[in-house]
């Protein structure tokens, strides 16, 4: 008798744990031929709320971890992903990628993590300044993490897109809540498993699966979220995000890029987008 495969239960990722959605709801993910791939959690606003709590709780300590340490954590994620390359390729292929495309996407994701790992202790030097004020003061400006960032990840490039957006956010000391690709969410939860076996502190990255339609308004309106990153082209969604973000003047960052494989889609400016600039004055006379 043929062996029966063990199917994987995909849950969501909050505060370093893998709970089921508190709503108990799910949605089907099917491949091109209509075959059921998985039942994914249909996350609710309460899941999002819990994720924000987890992200907020760890934000200060993550931000104050040394830059070197943050870089090593990102590097560790890349190492773990490298080790599970074939699993991720399989998952991408299940949801329609060719083998070549899947391989390229996973490898690019690993390389992108390493790219940002290297920036962890360098971007500050690019975006800081010593300002030659006319009075007898030492004056300098430095970037500082915005805090908690909500991320609507790209629908296409479900792994590379997510990595490309999340890596620069966390390397800058932010924590985040990600809504994964709605079309291909499975890989995002497998990526959560990678995060969980790397040295990423619990709560730094939280990943939800579900419907943009249901969740965008909460991602945009929550008052304990400092910034929102939106990847996509839907003007209605964008409009809603911009309107709701006004409530607490959440910073809104929009990525309309289509091809996350392009090398142009990595730069320290991605890190800068979730940084505030703080300026400090001190007298120099003794």
């Amino acid at each position: 008798m043929e062996r029966i495969d063990v199917l994987k239960t995909y849950k969501i990722f909050i505060g370093g744990k893998f709970p089921r959605t508190e709503s108990g709801r799910y949605f089907h993910v099917k491949n091109d031929t209509g075959e059921l791939l998985a039942n994914m959690c249909l996350s609710s606003r309460k899941d999002f709320r819990n994720a924000v709590v987890a992200a907020r709780k760890v934000q200060k300590s993550w931000e104050s971890a040394s830059a070197l340490n943050k870089g090593q954590v990102l590097y560790r994620i890349a190492e773990m992903l490298e080790g599970r390359k074939s699993q991720f390729m399989d998952e991408l292929m299940m949801s329609g990628s060719s083998k070549i495309a899947a391989k390229k996407e996973v490898e690019q994701s690993i390389d992108r993590l390493i790219y940002y790992a290297g920036w962890s202790d360098k971007f500050q030097q690019i975006f800081s300044s010593v300002n030659p004020v006319a009075s007898s003061h030492f004056n300098f400006s430095v970037p500082q993490a915005m805090g908690v960032v909500s991320v609507i990840a790209p629908n296409k490039f479900s792994l590379l897109g997510l990595v490309s957006v999340v890596a620069p956010v966390i390397v800058g000391g932010n924590t985040c809540i990600v809504l994964s690709s709605e079309e291909n969410p499975m890989v995002s939860i497998s990526f959560a498993e990678v995060l969980n076996t790397s040295d990423v502190p619990h709560g730094v990255v939280n990943i939800l699966t579900g419907k943009r339609k249901e969740l965008i308004s909460h991602f945009a309106s929550h008052k304990d979220v400092n910034a929102i990153i939106y990847c996509g082209h839907n003007n209605k969604e964008l409009n809603e995000i911009e309107k709701l973000s006004v409530e607490n003047l959440k910073r809104v960052k929009i990525y309309k890029r289509k091809n996350w494989g392009d090398q142009k889609n990595q730069s320290p400016y991605f890190i800068e987008r979730s940084q505030e600039i703080k300026t400090i004055w001190h007298p120099t006379e003794v």
């Binding site: 007898s136 003061h137 007298p283 120099t284 006379e285 003794v286």
Partner: protein
Amino acid sequence: MSFPDLLKIPKIDKLGVQEIVNRFCKRSIKTSAKKHGLHLALSMIDLTTLEGKDTTDKVRRLCYKASHLHNSLQGLPNVAAVCVYPTLVRVAKKELEGTKINVASVATAFPSGQSTLDVKLSDTKFAVNEGADEVDMVISRGKFLAGEYNFVYDEIAAVKEACGKAHLKVILETGELDTLDNVRKASDIAIYAGADFIKTSTGKISPAATMPVTFVMLNAIKDYYKKTGIKIGMKPAGGISTAKIALQYLVMLNETLGYDWMNKDLFRFGASSLANDVLMQLQKQESGYYQSLDYFSKD
């Protein structure tokens, strides 16, 4: 009297002091306020001569000037005191008999203070015996900078005792103290050791009195007053040569310690050429014409 708690002496931020001093300097003092301020300034002057070449004659002339500032102006106050070396106290005292002008004497191995306590005490006693109403002593800056604060304190306390009824002004020689933090520390030590006045400078070291230094000393006086209710006097000396600068000091005094300090019992200017500039300004206010120094006696 007790030794001050050095740990509780407030720190000084120099730029902050400079900023507020700039604000005092930008006050615009006109018309009646100016006249009032100039009269006050005159009444606070310690007319000073502290030269190696000073003679009996020079001191006599200075004393005459002190009591006859400028004949053509009515209602002028006298200066507060004439300040001389101990050997010339008797001369000054005699010349000023019948006036309310005090005689102040420098003492304690002025200006360096580099001598033994015995010499300093006998110097002081000599000046007092000669009739000095006020004694201007110098602190041992070398000891202060070496951190021997107790030595400095004890010396001041001993001189104070030697002064008897004479008022003691303690010269910190701030131009040698390096930082405003030191100025504040030295002020507190002098005040707690029994100074009636604290004074910036001997006039022999540059910089002499400055507004920032004086401001720090005024704040030491203020804190002591708030704590004990005792009013200590202040004497900036050296470098205050114009009426304009004197008015800036008075503005600072007015806004830091208030009107109670605005009299010769609690504030003095140690100066030699200030009087004539103040007189010129007063004459200008009176006549409306700008003046020449040729019309004001120099002694």
